[in-house]
Symmetry: C2
DNA sequence: CCTACCGATCGGTAGG
DNA sequence: CCTACCGATCGGTAGG
C-alpha cells in the first residue's frame, strides 16, 4: 500500500547510462564506469542488457518515439491550421526535452554510434519528424500565414534550437517548459525586431 | 615561381583529424585511424604533435580564435547600432562555419574532451563570444530596436542555429554562405509569420 | 619515418 | 550478482 515505485534494474541502468553518455559521450563512457556508479561489477550489467549498444539504442529510441508520438497525436486530432500545429509541436517538443534532458542530449549527440540496422531505423524516425515540421511550414507558406525563402533552414534552425535546450535548461530554475515554449514561439514567429 | 602550396605535415594531420573527429567523435577516433588515412604508422604522428589532445586543442582553438576575431573587429570598427552589429556577427559566423565545416563540428561537439587547462581557456573564449552577442541584444532592447522576454534564449537559439549549419551545409551546393546568413537574419529578425 | 613494444583499458564471456 | 579472464585495441615511448 505504501509502495514506493522502485525502478527496476534495467531502468536504473538506462538512467545511469544516459547521464554518463551525455557527460562523456558514448565512446568516452565505459561499461566499467556505469557499473561503478551502479555499485556493481561490469559483467553484472550483462544480466540486464545485451550490450553497450543496446543501452544506447534504448535511450535514443525512447526519445525518438516521444517525438513521433507528438506528430501522431496531431495527425489524429485533425487540426489543420499550420500555426497551431507548429505551436503544438514546439510546446510538446520542449516538454520532452525538459523532462528528459539527459536522454535528449544523448538523442541529439550520440545517435551516430548506433549499430547499422538501428541507425537506419533511427534516421527514418528522425526524418519523418523533420519532414512533418517542414510540411507544416510549407502549408503555412501556401496559406499565406508564413513567410520564408528557405523552409529547410527554418525547420533545422527551429529543431536545433529546440534540441539545444538541454544545454542550458535547469530543472530547478524558475523557467518552466511552458515559458521556454512561449519564448521560442515568439522568437520564431515574430522575430527579434520590434 | 610555380610553387603549389603544399600544406605541411602538421596541417595535413589537423585536417585529417578534424574530418575524423567530426565523423566518429574524439573518443571514437584513434591515432591509428588517423595514421591509416595519412598512410603512415601511428607512432610517426608523434613527430608532429605531442598527443591526441594536442590535435583536438589545435582544432578547437583555431575556430574559437576566428569567432573572437569577429567581435574584436567589430569593437575596433566602433560601429554601435545593435542590429548592424548582430548582422555582422551572423554574416561572419556563417562564413567561419561554412569555410571550416569539419573543424566547426569539432568545435561544437568535441570541446568537452579538451584537457582541464585548455578546457578552462576554451570556455572563457566561448563565454566571451556569447556574452558579446547577449550584450548586443540587450543594447538593442534598451534602444527599443529589439523585443524579447528572454535574451539568453535568443542568444543561445541563434548560436545553436549558426553552429548547427555544418549539419546540412553542402560546400558544393547552390546555397552560399551569404544566402544562409540572409535567411538566418530574416528568420531571427522578422520571424516566420507574414 | 619505421619496428617493436609498453601498461592500461576496452566490451564481453565462462562458469558458478 | 561475482571472480577470473579473453582477445583486441588504446595512447604513447624507446631506439634507431
Amino acid at each position: 500500500m505504501d509502495l514506493i515505485e522502485i525502478p527496476d534494474r534495467k531502468d536504473q541502468l538506462r538512467e545511469v547510462a544516459q547521464t554518463l553518455f551525455k557527460e562523456k559521450g558514448y565512446a568516452g563512457s565505459s561499461m566499467r564506469d556505469i557499473a561503478q556508479i551502479m555499485g556493481i561489477e561490469a559483467p553484472s550489467i550483462y544480466n540486464h542488457v545485451n550490450s553497450k549498444h543496446d543501452l544506447l539504442k534504448r535511450i535514443c529510441f525512447e526519445i525518438a518515439d516521444k517525438f513521433i508520438l507528438i506528430i501522431n497525436n496531431i495527425k489524429k486530432s485533425g487540426s489543420s491550421h499550420p500555426a497551431i500545429t507548429l505551436q503544438t509541436i514546439i510546446l510538446e517538443h520542449v516538454e520532452v526535452v525538459t523532462e528528459n534532458h539527459d536522454a535528449s542530449a544523448v538523442f541529439t549527440n550520440e545517435w551516430r554510434f548506433l549499430e547499422a540496422s538501428d541507425l537506419d531505423n533511427f534516421i527514418k524516425l528522425r526524418n519523418k519528424y523533420e519532414r512533418f515540421i517542414e510540411k507544416t511550414i510549407k502549408d503555412g507558406l501556401e496559406q499565406g500565414i508564413f513567410k520564408t525563402n528557405n523552409t529547410k533552414l527554418v525547420t533545422l534552425s527551429l529543431l536545433t534550437s529546440l534540441n539545444g535546450i538541454y544545454h542550458w535548461y535547469n530543472p530547478n530554475g524558475r523557467l518552466k517548459a511552458e515559458d521556454i515554449s512561449h519564448n521560442i514561439m515568439n522568437l520564431f514567429f515574430l522575430g527579434l525586431k520590434r
